[in-house]
Amino acid sequence: MNKRYVIYMTLFIALVLEVLPMPLNLVVYRPEWLLLVLIYWNIALPQRVNIGIAFICGIILDILLGNSLGLNSLALVISVYISSLHYQRLRNYSIWQQMVILGLLCALYNLIIFWLQHWLTDVLFQFTYFWPILTTVFLWPWLFWLLRKIRRQLDLK
């Protein structure tokens, strides 16, 4: 039986969480749900979720957020490429090491978006753009646990 749709379901939920309305003073802390879920599946099942899926999810996110097309997809693709280069090493790291690597990836993701936005429209640098890195890193252990449970229970390959 084909249980691959579960992966797409989790990606869909991540997309919903990305646009979920939040109180205005909490919005700046919104974690990068899509990046987290994509990287988990990329580390666990690199032959299933890779650059192609990251690109499609990025385009959908761009349409949802009203960005120029290609903005999130480029940043996601580069982050996922890096994680898929080292997926075997990342799997064997302890959760703390994974959190550090994830923080770096998330920082890169945010930086790429900032650079592209700066190139398209002259946005100014504000430190609040980088709060999501912290929330994303602290979300990773819980999400990792949850998604691994899903993957093992359904025996996804």
Binding site: L24, N50, S68
Partner: protein, 281 residues
């Protein structure tokens, strides 16, 4: 080591293809806006995600509406009746002033201003995007919303529509970095341009000469130039004027009158139905 892909191109060549594709999309859409016509189709396509995302909030709202107490309702009702009385008292004078204004305009041979059709819309989502200030509303092309339609709330101008899907549309707020609005000072009709600062509650008024008669507390209203915003709606109040002679222009900041951080119900102003030529009769 097991290869990631059993068939097809390698990881690096896939990356190259996708990066080139993304950059092409970015340049064509971000710099030249080639995808603006297809945008509404794309947004309609993903709007189910938006609806699912706004479901918890609307459910909470519905349930809190259901369990509101009778005393609260009575208190709110009394308040509304008082407000309505005050507004109707103002409205009586407004009607006579409107008629008088129309007569005077006819005497001057100036075109009479017609009332604009209005649509009420509700806020659906605020964008999770620190780089551009946009909100999503629950009216789309099916309700007659069109691109660059002006949007106001009960205090002043909120922004304009930039992206229309079938049942939702996107409003660019006046304080967005890429937005500018032609205004005039209510006190002395000085024409200016107020452009967004990227911060929610600040506008920059550009190119103000040092000698210009502008002061803190002046109210800016739309000037009607530019043919997007109708004339006479309040936009912002001047917050600070700094005249530094070392700079070519005075640095003027304004605060939008619309409460952009607590939007709930919005009003979309439609086009005037009567064409320009027939209005002069």
């Amino acid at each position: 080591m097991k290869p990631i892909f059993k068939r097809g191109p390698s990881l690096e060549s896939r990356l190259m293809i996708v990066v080139v594709l993304s950059l092409a999309l970015l340049v064509s859409d971000g710099l030249y806006g080639i995808f603006t016509p297809v945008r509404s189709v794309l947004t309609t396509f993903v709007s189910p995600i938006q609806y699912i995302a706004s479901l918890p909030a609307s459910l909470l709202n519905a349930s809190s509406n259901r369990i509101i107490s009778q005393e609260e309702l009575i208190a709110e009702n009394n308040l509304l009746i008082q407000q309505m009385m005050a507004l109707q008292a103002d409205n009586q004078r407004y009607q006579s002033l409107l008629a008088e204004n129309e007569q005077l305009r006819k005497l001057l041979d100036a075109p009479v201003q017609t009332a604009l059709p209005k649509t009420v819309a509700e806020l659906m989502a605020v964008d999770n995007n620190p780089y551009s200030l946009q909100v999503l509303i629950n009216k789309g092309s099916l309700s007659g919303v069109y691109n660059s339609q002006p949007v106001i709330d009960d205090q002043g101008i909120v922004g304009q529509i930039v992206d229309v899907a079938q049942t939702t549309s996107r409003v660019l707020l006046v304080s967005d970095l890429s937005h500018a609005i032609p205004v005039r000072i209510l006190r002395n009709n000085l024409r200016l341009i107020a452009s967004g600062s990227g911060e929610l509650n600040a506008l920059n008024v550009r190119h103000v000469a040092h000698s210009a008669d502008i002061a803190e507390g002046d109210i800016l209203v739309t000037s009607g130039l530019g043919n997007i915003f109708p004339e006479g709606y309040p936009v912002a109040v001047i917050a600070s004027v700094v005249r530094n002679e070392g700079q070519p222009f005075a640095t003027v900041k304004a605060t939008p009158l619309a409460r952009l951080d607590r939007l709930r119900y919005l009003l979309l102003l439609g086009r005037e139905n009567t064409p320009l030529e027939t209005r002069n009769e």
